[in-house]
Amino acid sequence: MNRLDIQLPGLDLKNPIMPASGCFGFGREFAQLYDLSKLGAIMIKATTVKPRLGNPTPRVAETPAGMLNAIGLQNPGLEKVMAEELPWLERYDVPIIANVAGSTTEDYVEVARRISTAPNVKALELNISCPNVKQGGITFGTDPVVARELVEQVKAVSKVPVYVKLSPNVTNIVEMAQAVEIGGADGITMINTLIGMRLDEKTGKPLIANVTGGLSGPAVKPIAIRMVYEVYKEVDIPIIGMGGVSCVQDVIDFMSAGASAVAVGTMNFVDPFICPKLIDELPAKLDELGVKHIKEIIGRSHRP
């Protein structure tokens, strides 16, 4: 019996563990390290209509128990992703969640329409929350009306279920979640990074060339857990939780708070084998918790 499988709109997951978008490229590098078919799914790097070269360097900085990044959605563009990256990934038995980004509604719609036709793309992750792109990007993620409309338009063209990735940089995360649910989202992924900054010690100038960067890693986990917990109570669509996952207990925590699956971002850099390790460690953890199937712990924080 598989104690770890999870069914979500469009996604038949062998297990609830997947690398988070932007932290795993298009899988090629990690494929040198382990068999990608082991993963529950792969969230590939944000794809935009045109290739993007991203922000100037330095693009990353370490912070206490976390890191800042301002990659700037560097990616080879829709054409190349469709022609090279996705077909290459077909050799693995793993569903792909395509992270869709853009600066205008038209951009998002175009990427969604095309990329959702790739045979191994089983779901889209609408990235309305990247804090590192200057135009548009962030407003989609902080205004519920704009977000809802975008989701409606993307849903109208996508061949596969659409998950919307929420930004934590808002006063009211529940309002955002409800807006995208009304817009027709099939699921929610959360959280993206928090906007942060680090200064150069000598000059006092921002260390990241883009001035601000997105904060991720264990430092943000308490915020992510809180948001998943709040959103779970108020929406009926499933949540893929992320933000600081660094050990198997964190997976349990996110699922307890209400996530149906869990993505791992930053920690892939610290321990490149973390995803398969977590998958291997889960059954013993279930035993410890006296649980037969991992589904049983989804949302247990909320049970009386």
Binding site: F24, E29, P51, R59, V60, A65, I71, F269, P272
Partner: protein, 257 residues
Amino acid sequence: MIQQERMTVVRQREIAKNIFEMTLQGQIVQEMTPGQFVHIRVSNLLDPLLRRPISIASIQKDSNEFTVIYRVQGRGTNVLSQKQIGDEVDVLGPLGNGFPVDAVQEGQTALLVGGGIGVPPLYELSKQLNDRGVRTIHVFGFQTEEACFYEEEFTKLGETYYVTNDGSKGFKGFVTDLLNELKPDFDVFYSCGPLPMLRALSSMYENKKGYLSLEERMGCGIGACFACICRTEEGQEKDYVKICSDGPVFEKGVVKI
């Protein structure tokens, strides 16, 4: 192949002011070539979080050992410097593409130019070049005498010149000042150090074949996160390279520096 290994500290000592030499033992040594680097996790806890990229300074395949030389700069290298013999260190490596030792032939001469903490990877390179019958000239720049290391080791391998900014050891000034005086005769140069030095060398030896080792802040160290991008010069196949996986060593003229 890139591997993650808990390697054992077999030696650690301060060889110059705030400069440590640490030798680690483990299987992945067998895969190492000069100019490659390892990515070290200094603590199993969550602070400091990220791995630190450190160049491979020398390789002892017979004993499964390799050596790094690093400067204690911030929190991570400080933690590293406190490791004791017998402690385990989480190493990811070997990473990247190192110096092409076969770019210079037996009997030819290679000029190795290093600045500060860019000197270490040139040591294993020099050893391997000498093993191949290549003559090596070493020109190294440091801030002050206190920061200098490995003079004896390099001297054994070939002509060696130290340059310090304040003149406290060897020639006073920058390595390029000395090179202007020295006008060494060589076939290929290899270099690692601060960008201004690499830039100066590239224009100084415009017509020579040369290899530069670059640095950038890293996330993954394996090519997945796009943290360590560098734009390429016009006419290259790609617009950019990743320093961690395409480099850190590039032929002169490939990347915009």
